[in-house]
């Protein structure tokens, strides 16, 4: 076990989240976006577990568990959508998936 402050853990979490978010905003293909989402979720998980540790309360880890459940669902559904997108457009460029524009 390492003797760290919560601030250090949160910094890690935040940095990873920012990198994920940046990637999400910048990348152009749908699969990379999904991967970046995973990154962001992971960053959030780190924060959850850290707080769980800080307060010595298992609820944070339970939340972690739920988050990965959601993440799994989201990835599965997301990938299925990407698959359909590819079938429809013959590519997975996210800018072209704009059928719902106003």
């Amino acid at each position: 076990m390492v003797d760290v402050s919560i601030a250090q853990l949160l910094f890690v979490s935040f940095a990873i989240f920012s990198i994920g978010a940046g990637g999400f905003l910048i990348r152009k293909n749908a699969i990379s976006l999904l991967i970046c989402l995973e990154l962001m979720l992971n960053a959030v998980n780190i924060a959850f577990v850290s707080f769980s540790r800080l307060h010595n309360n298992e609820s944070g880890t339970v939340l972690y568990f739920f988050v990965i459940t959601v993440a799994a669902c989201e990835t599965a559904v997301g990938l299925a959508i990407v698959l359909n997108l590819f079938r429809l457009k013959k590519n997975i460029r996210i800018q072209e998936a704009n059928a719902l524009r106003g």
Binding site: I26, A99, R101, G102
Partner: protein, 629 residues
């Protein structure tokens, strides 16, 4: 006693209404003869009822039926009758002349496809007219008032297939409605002042003299409203324009409604509410001047009309003007007397004219008549009596009644009015002479062979001629040794201005009578000289055009009122409604649409764009959460 009054008056009123429904429903199913005779029969029964009432009732009686308008807290209006000399006398005329005209109409309307409908309307009219004169409350009178207006409307546009007739009916109704508006406002004011609309109660309060200044103020407005109402119904300036057009109806209608009965309702109303008018001398003066001016004005138009019924129509307006004049000078008995004699001789004249028209197969233009003296002798002789009566030739009815009015006018020391009255009397004799001569004398001008009318028509003419001849006996002045029956009879309920007694007054009145009858004969002579060998020539001058076109009053009203009303209708519709109101709303809707168009662009379909917006939202949330802390 009371029950019998109730039954008699009820029967007199209800029978025509029932008859009206039956004739309308039966249409022509039961044959002309039965319809006509039965309709006349109902009227005769009504007349008999009236006569019985007339004998039974000493001074006045009130008959209550059932409550009509109920205000919640109190009874406002009952269906109840006030039977007193004023209403009984007029009731007799309405049912009496009415039954004569019904009889006449069975001949006149023979063969018309709307025969049943015609009698239905006529009977309905009698019902409404009796409601008008017998009701003891303002709304009751108003019901009859509008009812006769409705019948007038229906009967003027009786031959509705002709657009002009329908328009004339509509005009009559609408102009009358202007008057009714005045009547309505008068009712409101009276209710405001006295808290009741029952005429006996109102008159009791007025006669008791316990009025404060506010109440008198309200009565002034009420009287003005009533004058407007009366002017509408009795075709006085400024609302007389409907009556000439009303001649579009069948002639019996013109005789019954537009000469003998309905148009006198205004006079009746003013007499009925005389105490109210006494409170407002200014309004009385107004009535007198309206009457005088109308008399002169209408007579001047009548001289230049060529349609026989139009001449009579303007003559009616002019004679009604006389009655108003008398009312305005606080001489209701004189007005009433003239009303009665006028009912006789004007009905006679109209029916005579109708007989002529009937004989000439619906030719109304006097320029195409002439020389009918021989072909239609009965019509000729009866018409002659009518003309002499209206011209004021002694000893016919018109002489007495008109002379009384002239006497009163000259006794009132209003120079202008008395001049007008005399000039009008002269003009009346002149245009009636013109009508008489153009129709019956000279050579035939272009009409086909005429025939005398059937007995049902000529018999009525004879009866009316007799009435016109001897009607003056009703009110043979006391000054001349008579008993002035009508004056005494009506004197129970109305107050007549005193015109003086004694030898001086007798001398004055004899002078006046002599002068006026000489003037009438002179006018007839002038007409004889002018139209004896009338061919087709006419006056030709700008002034003549002015008269002939009735001073362009119709055109004036059309341009000033009707056209502007139409224009304001278009304006309110197109500009206010569709332009401003709908425009604002549609504009709002359009702006909303535009705005959302603009915001729509934000929805660009780019996933990452949305993510950026989420980031922005998160940022704002965090900042606000932090700053709130």
């Amino acid at each position: 006693m009371d029950a019998s009054l109730k039954i008699l008056s009820g029967v007199a009123v209800i029978l025509p209404l029932l008859g009206s429904c039956i004739w309308f429903w039966a249409k022509n199913k039961i044959g002309e003869k039965i319809t006509g005779l039965a309709a006349t029969g109902t009227l005769v029964i009504s007349f008999i009822c009236c006569l019985t009432l007339f004998w039974q009732i000493e001074s006045s009686a009130r008959v209550e039926f059932f409550s009509w308008i109920w205000m919640g807290s109190s009874e406002l209006v009952n269906f109840s009758f006030l039977l007193d000399p004023l209403s009984l006398a007029l009731g007799l005329i309405v049912t009496g002349v009415g039954s004569l005209i019904h009889l006449y109409a069975t001949g006149y309307m023979h063969g018309d496809e709307g025969f049943g409908r015609f009698f239905s309307y006529l009977n309905l009219f009698i019902f409404a007219m009796l409601m008008l004169i017998w009701s003891d409350s303002m709304p009751g009178i108003f019901m009859g008032w509008e009812g006769v207006g409705l019948c007038s409307y229906l009967l003027i546009s009786f031959w509705f297939s002709d657009e002009a007739n329908a328009t004339a009916g509509k005009k009559a109704f609408i102009v009358n409605r202007v008057g009714d508006f005045g009547f309505l406002v008068a009712m409101f004011c009276i209710f405001k002042a006295f808290g009741t609309l029952s005429i006996p109660e109102v008159l009791a309060i007025v006669n008791s003299g316990n009025l404060d200044i506010v109440q008198v103020g309200w009565t002034q407005w009420a009287c003005l409203g009533l004058v407007l109402g009366a002017a509408g119904k009795s075709a006085q300036i400024p609302l007389y324009v409907w009556l000439p057009d009303a001649m579009a109806g069948p002639t019996p209608v013109s005789a019954l409604i537009h000469a003998a009965t309905m148009v006198t309702a205004g006079v009746y109303l003013c007499c009925r509410l005389q105490p109210l008018f006494f409170l407002n001398p200014g309004v009385m003066e107004l009535i007198a001047y309206i009457g005088g001016l109308t008399a002169l004005f209408a007579a001047s138009i009548a001289i230049f009309q060529n349609d026989i019924k139009k001449v009579l129509a303007y003559s009616t307006i002019s004679q009604l003007g006389y009655m108003f004049l008398a009312v305005g000078l606080a001489a209701p008995v004189a007005a009433y007397f003239h009303l009665m004699t006028h009912a006789f001789f004007k009905a006679l004249l109209f029916l005579g004219a109708g007989s002529v028209i009937h004989g000439l197969h619906h030719e109304q233009d006097m320029r195409k008549m002439g020389g009918l003296r021989k072909q239609m002798p009965i019509t000729f002789w009866t018409m002659t009596i009518g003309v002499l009566a209206i011209a004021g030739t002694p000893p016919f009815a018109g002489f007495f009644s008109k002379d009384e009015i002239l006497h009163i006018v000259s006794g009132s020391h209003r120079g202008l009015l008395s001049n007008i009255a005399f000039v009008t009397a002269f003009m009346t004799a002149f245009y009636m002479g013109r009508l008489w001569i153009m129709t019956f004398f000279g050579k035939s001008r272009g009409h086909r062979e005429a025939h005398e009318s059937p007995w049902s028509m000529t018999a009525v003419l004879c009866v009316l001629a007799a009435l016109s001849a001897f009607g003056g006996l009703l009110n043979w002045p006391e000054l001349w040794g008579g008993n002035a029956w009508l004056e005494h009879y009506l004197g129970q309920v109305v107050t007549q201005m005193d015109v003086g007694h004694g030898a001086d007054a007798l001398e004055d009145s004899l002078k006046l009578a002599g002068f006026s009858s000489l003037m009438g004969l002179g006018a007839l002579g002038l007409a004889w000289w002018k139209y004896r060998d009338y061919q087709t020539q006419d006056f030709r001058s700008p002034a003549f055009n002015l008269f002939k076109n009735k001073y362009y009053i119709d055109e004036f009203y059309d341009a000033v009122i009707v056209r502007n009303l139409k224009r304001s209708g278009e304006f309110l519709w197109k500009v206010v409604d569709q332009g401003i109101l709908d425009g604002t709303l549609n504009g709002l809707a359009y702006q909303a649409k535009k705005t959302s168009e603009r915001f729509r662009r934000l929805q660009n379909g780019l996933l990452q764009g949305y993510a950026l917006w989420i980031w922005l939202g998160v940022l704002i949330l965090m900042i606000s959460a932090w700053s709130v802390r």
